[in-house]
């Protein structure tokens, strides 16, 4: 076991864990931050996506020892950011969610996309969101919500 000071949603947070423990389990089990979901555990579905140093990252395959000083942002805090707020509002007004399990990961990736590409095309959305899987098949609404958020952000 080792102790790490992680910056999570702007707060320095001390955690004790085995160095190989995936960040997802530190968040969910250690810190009880359950907004980030466990889907597949092998980076195949994107449900566990958080931002690490601003990069959308699959927390289920990221050992806590590798995080270092990079700040972590999770779904719990993404709404405090202008782009994050716009995406969440668009998600609600478009009624994107069906079961909702994958949606925190979808939103984290969508926010990162809109920060880089302000007006993404259908093809850009499909490629960038391609690693986030939705078993309910809400892809059409996800795409519409991203476009709506992009429009709102101007």
């Amino acid at each position: 076991m080792a102790t790490y000071t992680l910056t999570i949603n702007g707060r320095p947070t001390e955690v004790t864990a085995d160095p190989g423990t995936p960040l997802l389990w530190v968040l969910r089990e250690g810190l009880k931050m359950t907004g980030t979901k466990y889907g597949c555990g092998i980076a195949a579905c994107g449900a566990c996506t958080v931002h690490v140093g601003g990069v959308p990252t699959r927390s289920c395959v990221l050992p806590v020892s590798v995080v270092g000083s990079r700040p972590i942002v999770t779904i719990e805090a993404i709404g405090t950011d202008r782009v994050g707020r716009a995406v969440q509002d668009a998600w609600v007004s478009t009624d994107v969610v069906q079961c909702g399990y994958c949606q925190s990961g979808q939103i984290m990736t969508a926010v990162a996309l809109l920060r880089i590409v302000s007006k993404p095309t259908d093809s850009q959305i499909e490629q960038s969101m391609g690693g986030n899987i939705c078993r309910c098949g809400t892809y059409v609404r996800i795409r519409a919500a991203i476009k709506k958020a992009a429009q709102r952000l101007g």
């Binding site: 990069v55 990252t57 050992p63 990736t109 880089i116 690693g131």
Partner: protein, 198 residues
Amino acid sequence: MTGRQNVAVLAAWIGMTVVGVRVVEAQSNRADGLAAWKQVYSVLTHPRCVNCHTATAYPQQGEDRHVHSFNVVRGRAGFGVPAFTCATCHQQVNADTTGVPGAPGWHLAPLSMQWQDLSDRILPSSAVCKAVTDRSKNHNLDGAGLLKHHEEEPLVRWAFTPGRRADGTSRSVPPLSHTAFVDATRTWVNAGMPCQAP
């Protein structure tokens, strides 16, 4: 023969001998270079290298070089696409507890450095050699630059310490050690980077 003629004959004989020695040396040098290239090629065409030196719009993975899972795409610069880059999973180091390989700057080689054809067959030695030595395709690297690339590039070095899969088994490594690979590259570069005829 006069004394002057004797000197001329002797000079001609010495000259021919020197030229002959040089020709033999050059042939031997080229042979050594080609032998060294054969070793280099055996590394370049190992899955640890070819999986990112693809001819495709996506990386490959595994010993069988299958299409990379998770809808991963090459993107414009070989680092994936916005919000879905290689760094979404691949960190600066191997993550052996979760089975994700990692090294600084994880990305695909440019399409100009593809070492397979569109049918997923490894290109022959002559074609790979031609591409590697073509400065319009290889980021303008001369021999010293290629040697440095093989010696220092983190992704090249990673191929020799590729870490473990999620099930705990080790990924296979190229047939040479990194030191032997660099030595073979040096021999090939010093021999003038010869390529076998197609």
